[in-house]
């Protein structure tokens, strides 16, 4: 159970659109003014395969957190479908209920993710109680909680039952949050920046735990992160998001060592490493989801456009005017870039997929 299977994906997202309406004052509203709409997720197709670790990477404002929250049911999409094991979620409330048990979320800040007035036992048992599960596999509630805590590496589990979150360290709290997710034996865990608020020396242990859960229990993971190094460490595939769209997706080693999209290249360029200061290639601030550019949404900042490379390849017009989705450039490796597609065509003219 250590390699992702090639069979059907366990989670599919199709054509998803999620936007937020800005607020308007009473007077302006009566005058007919509408608030600005922030398009957090602007057309995303994604699939998560059984037992795989998929990293969703990007800067703040790219929509990765909104996408994760919509998958968890915390936000409602304006358009699009989410399918769990082939079944669309909207179809019946029974499916939705099953989904809520088998897809769990691990939040960024373990301190805020635990109710300070509840003991560890109650926080972990909450999932069982909401779903009305009093026993499973012949084990009563307290044994299930103990098992989940032990699997998260907190041993002996009984010692933690009556402890409060503030009595634990950051790493231990995150383990409790993970135990709370594990207790329902999920198929998928959605982790939003699982280690960014932890001390650096502790992160490795939590990442080891997450990988171990995948290896031992076949749990698929969607890891939202801004840290490409984290993706390098644990992800099978990486999806890079920009302004509400996935602009590149593929196996981690390919995307992070042979990036095809200029945005991915720029991100990799600024990852700090030994050997001198990297010159940031992109100017300006991360862009605004309320004002998405025409054509390729990256074109105003794209180094290829700015340097003229796009023009000499003849695609600049398309970059400025033609919006595009992901194009498969090598098997499994997709990018939403006119230039990359053009170059691919030149290299391999007859195998355009």
């Amino acid at each position: 159970m250590t390699t992702p299977s090639e069979t059907d994906p366990v989670l599919e997202v199709e054509d998803l659109f999620v936007s937020f309406q800005g607020r308007v004052g009473l007077g302006a509203g009566l005058a007919g003014k509408k608030g600005t709409t922030a398009k957090a997720v602007d057309g995303v197709d994604l699939e998560l395969r059984r037992g795989e670790v998929l990293a969703l990477a990007g800067e703040s404002g790219c929509g990765k957190t909104t996408l994760a929250r919509t998958i968890m049911g915390l936000e409602r999409p304006q358009q699009g479908e989410i399918r769990f094991e082939g079944e669309p979620l909207g179809k019946s409330s029974k499916i939705l209920r099953e989904y809520r048990r088998r897809v769990q979320i691990v939040f960024q800040d373990p301190t805020a993710a635990l109710n300070p007035r509840q003991t560890i036992y109650e926080s972990v048992a909450e999932g069982l109680r909401i779903h009305g599960i009093t026993s499973q596999d012949g084990l009563p509630e307290e044994k299930l909680v103990a098992r989940a805590l032990a699997r998260s590496g907190l041993r002996p589990p009984e010692r933690f039952f009556l402890v409060y979150p503030h009595e634990l360290s950051g790493g231990q709290r995150q383990r409790v949050v993970i135990a709370g997710a594990l207790v329902l034996e999920p198929e998928i865990i959605v982790a939003d920046e699982p280690v960014s608020s932890l001390d650096a020396s502790v992160r490795g242990e939590i990442l080891k735990l997450l990988l171990g859960l995948r290896d031992d229990f076949g749990i698929a993971m969607l890891v939202v992160t801004h840290d490409l190094g984290l993706a390098w460490t644990i992800a099978d595939r990486v999806a890079v998001m920009y302004l509400g769209r996935i602009v590149e997706i593929g196996p981690t080693e390919e995307v992070l060592t042979k990036p095809l999209h200029p945005y991915t290249k720029a991100l990799l360029e600024v990852v700090p490493e030994a050997g001198g200061l990297s010159r940031p290639v992109l100017s300006g601030e991360p862009p605004d989801p309320t004002r998405i550019p025409e054509g390729c949404r990256f074109h105003p900042r794209c180094p290829e456009v700015v340097s003229g490379a796009a023009a000499s390849a003849g695609v600049e017009g398309r970059c400025r005017g033609e919006d595009l989705g992901l194009i498969e450039l090598t098997p499994e490796h997709l990018a939403a870039c006119h230039l990359a597609a053009a170059r691919r065509r030149d290299v391999v003219p007859s195998t355009m997929t």
Partner: protein, 325 residues
């Protein structure tokens, strides 16, 4: 010429639960135009060092040792001299500095305030200088009239840097200046700091938990753990060939993308960084150290010489066994 020279600095806070030693004997030197990096996680005492250098510690805190700023000992300065020295010789870009801006005052006025307080100019000239400062940090002067909420995170951080430069200090202390920023903006701010540092010949003390950032921006670095320095030396050399188990663990948390050794192989330390009031005996790192042996629990290591310009507070060094990566 040493801009900052700290000798045996000890900072002990006074709390209801008793005295808490946050810094337990730290010595460092920064020469003109040099960037020294200080790395460490929560509870290691790095922010306490920042506060101690400019005597910004809460009343009742015991600070012993020597802090020589351009030759003068800050710890024994009279209050008047201290106030004159603060910001004109050494200034700070604080952690979460973006929230240190007054939301109801325009940027220009806040910058000018720093200048006027130090009696360097009057309001009108101060505003002109504020415009120059904004220009130096890459913001258009028309931003002087903006309020903080009209700026983005990265822009606010630039304003804080401008404020730190306001009185032309010889030393800038940057405490986690890029931690809350996106990678792209972080790169811009780091690039800016680097440029300014070279242009103005500033000395800089750069404090962060992110080792990879330090390797980029600082020539030398020091690693702190539980109130003490456990390793120091040239940045690249320390990062690539650590001579202390903690440095090794910290460096492993910042993998090099493209390096196959890090693929699917996360490594970390069990346990947590110790709280200042519960520091282990002997070598403070020994409970979490994968190389610990019996002497580690009882012997407090010194900073032993461990190579060219390098020091490490690990008992393995005098034994002649430098840890291998």
């Amino acid at each position: 010429m040493s801009v900052l020279s700290v000798r045996d600095l000890e900072v002990t806070y006074r709390t209801q639960a008793g005295p808490i030693p946050a810094v337990r004997g730290v010595s460092l030197d920064i020469a003109t135009g040099e960037v020294l990096g200080l790395a460490g996680e929560s509870g290691c005492g790095k922010s306490s060092i920042v506060n101690a250098i400019l005597r910004l510690v809460p009343p009742g805190t015991t600070v012993t040792g020597e802090v020589l700023l351009n030759g003068e000992n800050v710890l024994t300065m009279k209050p008047g001299r201290l106030r004159a020295v603060r910001w004109t010789q050494a200034s700070v870009v604080f952690q979460g500095a973006m929230h240190a801006l007054n939301p109801v005052q325009r940027i220009g006025d806040q910058l000018a305030e720093a200048i006027v307080i130090h009696g360097q100019s009057r309001q009108r000239e101060a505003l002109v200088r504020a415009g120059e400062l904004l220009d130096q940090v890459g913001l258009p002067p028309r931003r002087l009239r903006d309020y903080p909420h009209e700026l983005s995170g990265g822009q606010k951080q630039r304003v804080m840097i401008a404020m730190a430069l306001a009185c032309s200090p010889s030393l800038i202390i940057a405490d986690e200046p890029t931690t809350a920023l996106d990678v792209m903006v972080q790169a811009q701010v780091l690039s800016l700091l680097n440029e300014l540092q070279h242009e103005l010949g500033l000395a800089m003390l750069f404090i962060t938990h992110d080792l990879s950032v330090l390797v980029e921006i600082s020539g030398r670095l020091a690693i702190m753990y539980a109130g003490k320095i456990v390793e120091q030396g040239p940045s690249v050399s320390v990062f690539e060939k650590p001579a202390h188990p903690y440095t090794e663990a910290l460096a492993a948390a910042f993998p090099a993308i493209g390096d196959q050794r890090f693929r699917k192989a996360p490594s970390g330390l069990g346990g947590d960084p110790p709280q200042p009031d519960a520091v282990p005996t002997g070598c403070s790192f020994h409970p979490r150290c994968p190389y610990a042996f019996d002497a580690c629990a009882s012997t407090v290591p010194d900073l032993y010489a461990s190579g060219e310009g390098r020091r490490s507070a690990c008992l393995l060094v005098p034994k002649g066994e430098l840890i291998a990566r």
